[in-house]
Amino acid sequence: MSTKLIHKLLAVLILVSIVLSACSTATTQAPAQPTEVVAPTKAPVTAAPATKAPATAAPATAAPATAVPVVEKPSGKLVIWVQQANQDVWTQTVLPGFQAEYPDIEIEFINYPPADVATQVGLAIQGGSGVPDLAVTETRSIGALVALGGLKDLTSLIEPYKADLNATVLDYCTQDGKIYCAPWDIGPVVTFYRRDIFEAAGLASDPDSVSAMVATYDDFLATCKTIKEKTGLNCFALNKANNLGTMLENMLWQQGLGYYDASGKVTIDAPYVVEAVKKIGTFWDANVVSDALEWTDPWYAELNAAMDNTDTPPIATIVIAAWMGNFLRTWIAADQAGNWGVALMPAYTAGGVQASNQGGSDYFIPEGSQNPDAAWAFIEYVNLNTANQVAQFVYSDYFPANKATYADPVFQEPDPYFGDQVTRAFFAEVAQNIPFGYIYGEYSVTMSNNAAVALQNYALGTMSAEDALKEAADAVRLETGMP
């Protein structure tokens, strides 16, 4: 081949590559101006889905069921960023109904790993382009997005449903009196326990008795010691080196306290946190906990092990949110059906609150959304409609933030996996008692990370509780500018 031809080919190749790469964005380029969301029950609107409300129309407050007939249903493309597990829940329950109701809405799902949805949306908002039309993320991460700005104000749209939504969790969606997200589920914390192990230790194994046995953390410790003595098994998993800090968060949340306070001060080094950390230490000292790390294979093995398994001995309890029930039932501990039961979590002090929150997720619409009407239609149908929420709950055990669902008969059904215990009603009762905890919020990521590191330092004996927490608090103060 002549060199001239080679040069021509090369030039063409370079040009083509550059052009191809510039045209690589398939996602929406978000326009900079926010568009106003129009609820379906407005006065007749023109064909464009997002127009400014006519000045004379009253703000939309009617519930969809009894509204003026919808003139123009939302249509067009709807790009939703969500983790795979959540999408599966929709697909298996409410998605067909939604598509039937809104045939002209074309949904495109994009999956991210759970922790990443919030990060990616945040970066997209920062980057000025590529935001989705709708997204679902964990409550832990929503505070940062709300504070970042760039989320659509849903206050007027969510007004009809506000009274039914769990106030504590709705708080995380609120800034300056405006609501920026719609809660899906919450995570009422309970104690899952192994009936067979309790019985083997000579203890009662019904929920009420067990709740009494773990009424406070000191009682819990005593129970754990008994179990260890009688069966040689560990009480729960409490990793040292890579501890995620969930036990600490639960202890603070249930007291209505947390990593910061109402005045915006960092409280990670407050005396009550030091005390909580030391209380956790008593479990390590008593040698009643295993070293498995949450969400790793050894941990799953512990939860699924039969009592006589000597390679991976089982653990007797796990204090975690209600959504864990479904995980246990389906992919973690299917072998132990009938052996698990549900009791209350310990109170911090005698007679104190036996409820906390761990996890939960929320829907939100970024300002740059190209189809806010369809997005709200999705939220309203899938999430705020009571019957649909119940359907999703039954499938997934994601505990609804919508209190109106608790009246549904499914809540009274016994669960064979948990030995026919009526777990749903149990969770509902716990949910009513969740106080406001200062754990999630704008800076929850750095707060949780640093607090966890402090706990790790304490666990490994490299620092005293006071020093470790002071270092963590200072790191947070440095990064966030909070006092």
Binding site: S24, T27, Q84, N111, G130, W295
Partner: protein, 278 residues
């Protein structure tokens, strides 16, 4: 006789060292391959098996069907090819300029070139993101192709290479009336083509294996490259799909492996040139 009897145990030691290190080098690859054919319960099963008891192909079908691996490979190839070609173009040009021309300020300009090589990327991570945002390049391939195009290292490399070319070739061409660019493309480029291959391989590999760039700039999964996709299979809450992750890792290695095995010598040249005064 004594030297021979001293030789054999010494040789055994040498061979052992080589073999042991080689095993260590190969082990992760082998394990990656093995895991990619295992069922989830066998991945951390006991006892560990090199050849899985029940080999499966579903990890591979999963990543091709559910995770659009073809699209991802396409993205990765486009980015790597574009950045390599663009870089080669500018670095050969720049190297030629510094090697064969005299001009005012040459010393200073070259010193600046060398100086730019010590700037760590960390300093530019944040502001690069911000200006890419201004340009509207976030979530496109452009930030991964354009900025790296004029690589100081590349210009340095080609300057060395081209300076060994005899000046007479170019002078003769000039007398014949050839344009400067013509001399570059028709005379210089063919002569340095081994160097182009060497450096091209290095550029290609760097782009292919890049993780931080795609992590920061590629937002939508359909624009991802293979490194980010492998990482995305590591989902919290226990949903780490080790099997598919290893399958994708295996696939990510194959193109580079093939290229490397064919162009071994060029690879070595590309790395060592410019560093060893030979």
């Amino acid at each position: 006789m004594s030297s021979l009897s001293r030789k054999i145990p010494a040789d055994i030691t040498l061979y052992s060292v080589l073999i042991l290190i080689s095993i260590f080098m190969i082990l992760p690859f082998v394990w990656m391959l093995s895991t990619s054919f295992k069922l989830p319960q066998d991945i951390f099963g006991y006892p560990p098996r090199l050849i899985p008891e029940n080999p499966i192909l579903s990890n591979y079908t999963y990543i091709f069907q559910e995770k659009s691996l073809l699209r991802i490979l396409f993205n990765t190839i486009i980015i790597a090819l574009s950045s390599t070609l663009l870089s080669l173009f500018f670095t050969t040009l720049g190297g030629y300029g510094f090697a064969k021309f005299e001009f005012p300020g040459k010393k200073t300009l070259f010193a600046i070139l060398l100086a730019t090589m010590i700037i760590p990327g960390a300093v530019m991570m944040v502001p690069s993101f911000i200006i890419m945002r201004e340009f509207g390049w976030v979530n496109t391939f452009l930030p991964l192709i354009i900025p790296g195009a004029a690589s100081a290292f590349g210009i340095f490399f080609f300057r060395q290479y081209i300076s060994t070319i005899n000046d007479e070739l170019m002078d003769a061409a000039r007398i014949d009336g050839a344009s400067e660019f013509g001399i570059f493309s028709r005379i210089i480029l063919p002569i340095i083509s081994p160097g182009i291959v060497s450096l091209g391989l290095i550029f290609f590999m760097r782009s292919w294996n890049d993780y931080m760039g795609p992590l920061i700039y590629l937002k939508s999964p359909e624009n991802w490259t293979i490194t980010v996709s492998i990482n995305a299979l590591n989902g919290g809450a226990g949903l780490t799909y080790w099997g598919p992750q290893m399958a994708m890792s295996v696939i990510s290695l194959i193109p580079l492996l093939i290229i490397f095995l064919i162009f071994q010598r060029r690879f070595a040249e590309g790395i060592t040139a410019g560093a060893i005064k030979g």
